[in-house]
C-alpha cells in the first residue's frame, strides 16, 4: 500500500482538491443540463462532461496570476480557474449576478478576478488572443503564462496555424492545450484533418509537442507542469494534445451525440471516466477513504444546489443594461 501511495506521487490534500474540482464541474454541468431542460437556460449549452481531467489537471499547476482562455465549452475551465459557481450558474441563467451581468451566457464566461479571459465562440479565434496575452506578459517583463484550451475543430482553422507560428516565432509564454474529443460537432478528426495526429502540428512550428491521456488528471498535470516551466523560465510555448472524449452530445441540442458515433463507442469511452478512474486510484492508494469521497460528494452537491438557488433568486438584468458596456467612456489613456 505504501508503495502505491508513492506511485501516485501526490498527497491527500492534492488528491482531494483534484477529485473535488472534477466532481464540482461534473455536478455543475449535470445541474445546468437539468436547468436547460426546465427552460431556465437558453441558447446553446456545451457540456464538458468527460473532459474534466484536462482543465483541472492543467489549472492545478498554474499560479493565480497566470491566465486561462477557452472556447465555447468553457464552464469547466472557468470553474477550475477559480470562478464562483454561483455567479457562473447565474450567468447561464442570464441573471444580473452572473459573471458577465447576464450579457455573455454559457459560451462567454469571463472572470477578471481569477484571470479567466473568456469563453470565445468563433472556433479558432481565441488562439491569436492567447498569443497576444502572452506577448503582453513578455512585453511587461512578467513571468506569468497563459493556458489556451481549444478543441480539435480549431485545428482545421487557419488561425490555429497562425497562432502556432507567431508563438514559436516570438517565443511567447503560452501553453496550447488541444482537447481532442475526436469530434468537431459531428465531424470526426479523420474526416477533417489530412494529418490527424494533432500534436505533430506543433513540431512543424518547432514547438515542444506531445500527446497525453486526457482522462488521467495526473498525467495531464505532469505534462502541463513541464510546459508551464518551459514557458515561465524560457518563454518557450508548447502544444499538448489531450486525448479525451465528451460523454454528452455537442450541445444540449445534440443530447446523445448518437448520429455520428456508435453507442458502443460511447459506452467504451465512458469506461475511461476521469473522475471514476481517479477516485478508484486514490482509494486504492489509500490517499482518501470512502468516507472522504462521500464527504466530498456531499460538499459538491451542496455547493451546486446553492449555486442553482443563487442563480434562481438573482433578478433579470435591468433593461437599462442593454445599452451599457458597449463603449468604455472614462478613458484611461487620457
Amino acid at each position: 500500500m505504501a508503495q502505491k501511495k508513492q506511485a501516485l506521487n501526490i498527497d491527500a490534500d492534492l488528491a482531494r482538491r483534484l477529485l473535488g474540482e472534477m466532481m464540482l464541474i461534473r455536478r455543475f454541468e449535470e445541474k445546468a443540463a437539468e436547468a436547460y431542460a426546465l427552460g431556465k437556460i437558453g441558447g446553446f449549452l456545451h457540456l464538458y462532461i468527460g473532459e474534466e481531467a484536462v482543465g483541472v489537471g492543467a489549472t492545478s499547476v498554474l499560479r493565480p496570476d497566470d491566465y486561462a482562455i477557452s472556447a465555447y465549452r468553457d464552464h469547466g475551465h472557468c470553474l477550475a480557474k477559480g470562478a464562483d459557481p454561483r455567479r457562473a450558474m447565474a450567468e447561464l441563467f442570464g441573471r444580473r449576478d452572473g459573471l458577465c451581468k447576464g450579457k455573455g451566457g454559457s459560451m462567454h464566461l469571463f472572470d477578471k478576478t481569477v484571470n479567466f479571459l473568456g469563453g470565445h465562440a468563433i472556433v479558432g479565434a481565441h488562439l491569436p488572443l492567447a498569443a497576444g496575452v502572452a506577448f503582453a506578459i513578455k512585453y511587461q517583463g512578467g513571468d506569468q503564462v497563459i493556458v489556451c484550451y481549444f478543441g480539435d475543430g480549431a485545428v482545421h482553422q487557419g488561425e490555429f496555424h497562425e497562432a502556432m507560428n507567431l508563438s514559436a516565432l516570438w517565443k511567447l509564454p503560452v501553453i496550447w492545450i488541444c482537447e481532442n474529443n475526436r469530434y468537431a460537432m459531428g465531424t470526426s478528426v479523420e474526416r477533417a484533418l489530412a494529418q490527424p495526429e494533432i500534436w505533430r502540428f506543433g513540431l512543424t512550428y518547432g514547438l515542444p509537442s506531445e500527446r497525453v491521456d486526457g482522462m488521467d488528471v495526473l498525467a495531464v498535470r505532469e505534462v502541463v507542469s513541464r510546459a508551464v516551466e518551459r514557458a515561465r523560465r524560457e518563454k518557450v510555448p508548447s502544444l499538448i494534445e489531450a486525448d479525451t472524449y465528451r460523454f454528452r452530445g455537442h450541445s444540449m441540442r445534440d443530447p446523445a451525440g448518437a448520429i455520428y458515433r456508435t453507442k458502443e463507442e460511447v459506452e467504451r469511452e465512458k469506461q475511461r471516466d476521469p473522475i471514476v478512474l481517479f477516485r478508484d486510484r486514490v482509494l486504492e492508494a489509500e490517499l482518501l477513504a470512502e468516507a472522504d469521497v462521500r464527504a466530498l460528494e456531499k460538499d459538491v452537491n451542496d455547493r451546486i444546489d446553492d449555486a442553482v438557488t443563487f442563480a434562481d433568486a438573482s433578478p433579470e438584468p435591468p433593461v437599462e443594461w442593454l445599452l451599457t458596456d458597449v463603449y468604455k467612456e472614462d478613458a484611461e489613456g487620457v
Binding site: 451581468k101 506577448f135 489613456g333
Partner: protein, 329 residues
C-alpha cells in the same frame, strides 16, 4: 504650428504617444525594418526598438488577434493594416473579438486598440486595393470609426484614438499621405473623436463630405461661388460616433443638403447621413437630399473607368445646382 505632410503628422502622433505611454506599441506588416509600406512608421524602429515596433508575418487575423489579446491585459496596441482592404482577413477578430469583448464580459475587459491604415480610392490600385472600407465597420456597435481628411486631423484624431479605451478603426488614404498642412506642435494637442468640423462656411446648401471627397467638394464650392451659390461644407471626421448635431445645425441654416461619398452608394455612409437629416430636420429642408456616391461596381483598373467610378467635381456641382434650384416652401 508646423507645416507637414499628412504622413508626417501620423508619424509624429505615433511618436508622441509612444513617448508618452510605454503601453503603446505598433504592430503590423513591414512597420519596422521596412519603415512602413507607406512610410508612416518611418524611424520608429530606430527610436523605440523591436519590442515596440513589431514586424509580423502576413497573417492579418493572427496579428490583429495578438493586438486584441495584448489589449485585454493592459497594453495599447496600434495595429497597422498595410492597406485597409487586408482588414477583411481580420474582420472576425475586429467584429467578434474587439468590438464585443467589453459587452460580452459585462464590462470586465475593454479593448483599447487602434487599427489603422489607408483605404478608399487610390491611383489605379484596382479592385482589391481600392475599397472604401469604413462601411464594414461603422455598422458595428462597440467600434469607433475615424476618417481624417487633413494633416491636423490626422495627428489630433490619431492621438485621441490611441488614448481611447475602445477599439478605433482609423482609415487613412494613399491619396492624402503627401498633402501638406499646418499641424500644432503641442504634444497635448488632440481632437476629440465624434466632432465634425465646418470646412467652409456657406448659406445656401450643406455638403457633407470627408477625405478626398471633401477636397473635391471644396473645388466644387469654389466653382459654385462664381454662380452665386454659397456652399457650406461639413466634414464628419469621425463616422461613429457621428456628430449629427453639427450636420443638422448646418442643414437647419442652409435648408439643403448634399452628401458625398467615394464608396458605392448602396447602404453607404450617405444613406445613413441622409436618413438622420430626414429624421431630425425634415421640416427644415427646402429640397430633397441628394447623394453623390461612387458607382455600384468594383473599382476598375483603367484610368478612365477609375475616374468614372468615383464622384467627380462636376457631379457634385450638378447635385448642388439641382437642390438649390428645387423650389421649396
Amino acid at each position: 504650428m508646423a507645416v507637414m505632410t499628412y504622413r508626417e503628422a501620423l508619424n509624429v502622433a505615433l511618436r508622441e504617444e509612444m513617448r508618452r505611454d510605454p503601453r503603446v506599441f505598433v504592430i503590423g506588416e513591414e512597420v519596422g525594418l521596412y519603415e512602413g509600406a507607406y512610410k508612416v512608421t518611418q524611424g520608429l524602429l530606430k527610436e523605440f526598438g523591436p519590442q515596440r515596433v513589431v514586424d509580423t508575418p502576413i497573417a492579418e487575423s493572427g496579428f490583429t488577434g495578438v493586438g486584441i489579446g495584448a489589449a485585454m491585459v493592459g497594453l495599447r496596441p496600434v495595429v497597422e493594416m498595410m492597406t485597409f482592404n487586408f482588414a477583411m482577413l481580420a474582420l472576425d477578430q475586429i467584429v467578434n473579438s474587439a468590438a464585443k469583448m467589453y459587452y460580452m464580459s459585462g464590462g470586465q475587459y475593454n479593448i483599447p486598440i487602434v487599427i489603422r491604415g489607408p483605404g478608399g480610392p487610390a491611383h489605379q490600385l484596382a479592385a482589391q486595393h481600392s475599397q472604401s472600407m469604413e462601411v464594414y465597420f461603422y455598422h458595428v456597435p462597440g467600434l469607433k470609426v475615424v476618417r481624417p481628411s487633413t494633416p491636423m486631423d490626422a495627428k489630433g484624431l490619431l492621438k485621441s484614438a490611441i488614448r481611447d479605451d475602445n477599439p478605433v478603426i482609423f482609415i487613412e488614404s494613399e491619396t492624402l499621405y503627401a498633402v501638406k498642412g499646418e499641424v500644432p506642435d503641442d504634444p497635448e494637442f488632440i481632437i476629440p473623436l465624434g466632432q465634425a468640423v465646418v470646412r467652409r462656411e456657406g448659406t445656401d446648401v450643406t455638403v457633407i463630405a470627408y477625405m478626398g471627397m471633401m477636397y473635391r467638394a471644396l473645388e466644387a464650392a469654389e466653382e459654385l461661388a462664381k454662380e452665386g451659390i454659397s456652399v457650406e461644407i461639413v466634414d464628419p471626421r469621425t463616422l461613429r460616433p457621428m456628430d449629427t448635431e453639427t450636420i443638422i445645425g448646418s442643414v437647419r441654416k442652409t435648408h439643403r443638403a448634399v452628401v458625398v461619398e467615394a464608396g458605392a452608394g448602396f447602404a453607404g455612409m450617405g444613406s445613413e447621413i441622409s436618413a438622420s437629416i430626414t429624421e431630425c430636420a425634415f421640416d427644415d429642408l427646402d429640397a430633397p437630399i441628394e447623394r453623390v456616391t461612387g458607382e455600384n461596381a468594383p473599382m476598375p483598373y483603367a484610368r478612365n473607368l477609375e475616374r468614372a467610378k468615383t464622384p467627380s467635381k462636376e457631379k457634385i456641382v450638378d447635385a448642388v445646382r439641382r437642390v438649390c434650384h428645387a423650389q421649396g416652401s
